[in-house]
């Protein structure tokens, strides 16, 4: 059974490109523009990786991280200039600076997709 990657970004365009790019890992990609909906999904599904934007109008990436129902690899994504600061935050597995290299993101995502 294929594994799932969850992407959260308030901007539909970013969700679209993440879906197109991460599909190439072979995983199922679920994207959410509403963080609440993403959290609800995580409540009932096992996922291999979360890629989440930091700046969103209703909830920040850190809010999402805090509310995760269970620990999961979490890539914080942002277009902010100080994005590297997030790499020190507990629970953040890695950071993705926008604009990102699609090839590298695929490689990194593959690293979290186990054999199972």
């Amino acid at each position: 059974m294929s594994q799932t990657i969850v992407c959260v970004d308030d901007e539909a365009g970013i969700c679209g490109v993440l879906r197109a790019v991460l599909r190439e890992t072979g995983a199922t990609v679920e994207t959410f523009t509403d963080p609440q909906a993403a959290l609800a999904f995580l409540q009932s599904h096992d996922v291999a990786l979360v890629v989440c934007d930091y700046r969103m109008p209703t909830m920040s990436g850190l809010d999402v991280l805090e509310r995760l129902p269970k620990p999961v690899p979490f890539l914080m994504m942002s277009g902010d200039l100080e994005i590297e600061l997030f790499s020190g935050v507990k629970g953040v597995t890695g950071v993705v600076a926008k604009p990102f290299s699609a090839g590298k993101l695929i490689e990194r995502a593959k690293g979290y997709l186990g054999e199972g």
Partner: protein, 497 residues
């Protein structure tokens, strides 16, 4: 032949007494033994002798034993036939007061030509001397003041001919005293362009006998124009009305004003750069999203092309198009904001609605992830004549301040409201926020340059002072509304006609 009937000695003595009494200054007639024959009231008072004391027949030295030796010697010389006089004889009284006397001592002679005694006239001229000296001193003081005064002083006839000029004035116009006093006139040094203004000042002289403050220029001897401020009034001089003028050289003041204006424009630009810097982070975020979309789809396009998946290729290309256009819009907005337009006369026609919309859009990137609500409410279609760039800077600045102020508030909102002003030709734009109120003691200071409540590195402290300077430069006002229930900055601007 004798003109006079012979007088008895008694009658002669009486007549002598009457004549002496009529003299306006202290007079005494004495015989060879220095005994009084006649004297008058001033003599008594000037010698400290009681008025009711009769001293005829008494010796002068017995009545006034304090008489100085030098006087006694004068008396002796005159009794020997000399006549002595002194026009200003000064001596210092015991109390230190200097007393001035004019006196004459002369012998009088018997019918046989022998000296019968002396006549002494003494006039106390202390008051006259002091008055003359005071006048001279005052005259000297006024002369010194005239010569040393750093303000130009000039006396001229009503027809403009110069009568007297002080060195400060000569320096302003660059002529020598000989040249200025040698027939130079006011009109020779006044450019023709001031004709109308001169007429106004002349009218003022006629009706109020004063003129000024009147700012004009003089043509210096070297041809240069020198800016001056004149004030003056009419005085009588040699029986005719003349004009005293005070002339200030405004060259340095004008240079200073220019420098201050240059500094103001520089500060406005510096503040604009600071605001641009603050926005850069937000703009980076805005730009990085479309860039991420473009680069991501560019990557997936390769495999989609390899697969020949036409639908996916179309989707990717459409997304790239859209993202590129969005990035372009952001860059355009930024360029509009930072373009140099320093010191341009405010002549753009700016719609209030676009002013508000631009400012809100430029700040929108800062809102993401902060939970701040921003509302704009435009209830006017008015346009404003001004520099659109500078005006946008003001409202971006006010909105940025508001966003900073609400960061820690529980209920976070920022509102910008534009509506018709109270007058028929004004527009009011208010920026309100739910942040903590500005304490009254701080309210007085917030418009001062370099005042800031933000931590070091976060604010330049120039925003509000520059903003106010920009709005005032447009003939408007920027104030803090102390009566509002929330923090509220109000801008009043004139509508375009």
């Amino acid at each position: 032949m004798s003109y006079f009937a012979p007088l008895s000695p008694e009658a002669a003595r009486q007549l002598l007494g009457e004549v002496v009494k009529s003299f306006p200054f202290a007079t005494a007639v004495l015989d060879r033994e220095m005994r009084y024959l006649a004297y008058n009231r001033s003599w008594l008072s000037s010698h400290g002798i009681p008025e009711d004391r009769a001293i005829v027949g008494l010796r002068h030295y017995d009545v006034s034993p304090e008489i100085r030796d030098e006087w006694r010697q004068v008396h002796q010389r005159c009794l020997a036939g000399a006549t002595e006089r002194r026009d200003d004889d000064v001596y210092e009284q015991v109390n230190g007061r200097r007393v001035h006397h004019r006196w004459v001592v002369a012998p009088w002679r018997e019918s046989d030509g022998a000296v019968g005694g002396i006549i002494i006239y003494v006039e106390n001229i202390t008051d006259q001397v002091e008055t003359t000296r005071n006048l001279a001193e005052r005259e000297g003081l006024i002369r010194t003041l005239f010569e040393q005064c750093p303000i130009g002083l000039n006396l001229c006839r009503m027809d403009g001919l110069w009568i007297e000029s002080n060195p400060a004035f000569l320096e302003i116009i660059g002529y020598s005293r000989e040249e200025a006093d040698g027939g130079l006139t006011y009109w020779q040094l006044t450019p023709r362009k001031y004709d109308a203004a001169e007429a106004v000042q002349l009218e003022s002289l006629k009706t109020t006998r004063r003129y000024g403050p009147y700012d004009k220029e003089f043509v210096r001897k070297d041809g240069r124009l020198v800016p001056v401020r004149l004030n003056g009034f009419i005085v009588e001089h040699d029986g005719m009305p003349c004009i005293w003028s005070l002339i200030e050289d405004l060259t340095e003041q004008r240079a200073l004003e220019t420098r201050v204006e240059e500094e103001r424009l520089k500060a406005i630009h510096a503040s604009r750069l600071a605001v641009v810097g603050e926005m850069a982070a937000g703009v980076a975020h805005e730009l990085n999203n479309p860039l991420a979309i473009i680069s991501g789809y560019a990557f997936t396009l390769r495999s989609a092309i390899a697969r020949g998946d036409e639908a996916e290729i179309k989707e990717a290309l459409a997304a790239i198009d859209e993202a590129t256009e969005r990035a372009g819009t952001i860059v355009k907005g930024l360029r509009k904001f930072s373009r140099q337009k320093l010191g341009h006369a405010p002549t753009d026609l700016v719609a209030t609605s676009s002013l508000v919309a631009d400012a809100v859009n430029l700040c929108r990137s800062r809102l993401l992830g902060t939970g701040v609500r921003i509302e704009s409410d435009v209830r006017t279609t008015a346009q404003i004549v001004g520099n659109g760039l500078e005006l946008s800077q003001v409202f971006v600045n006010l909105l940025n301040n508001a966003l900073d102020a609400v960061a820690a508030a529980e209920n976070k909102w920022v509102r910008i409201v534009a509506k018709e002003g109270q007058g028929p030709s004004s527009v009011t734009i208010a920026v309100e926020d739910s942040g903590p109120r500005i304490p009254p003691d701080v309210a007085d200071q917030i418009f001062r340059p370099f005042f800031t409540t933000k931590t070091v590195g976060e604010g330049t402290g120039l925003g509000l002072s520059i903003s106010r300077s920009i709005i005032e430069g447009h003939g408007g006002t920027l104030t803090l509304d102390a009566d509002a229930p929330c923090t509220r900055f109000v801008v009043h601007l004139q509508k375009a006609p």
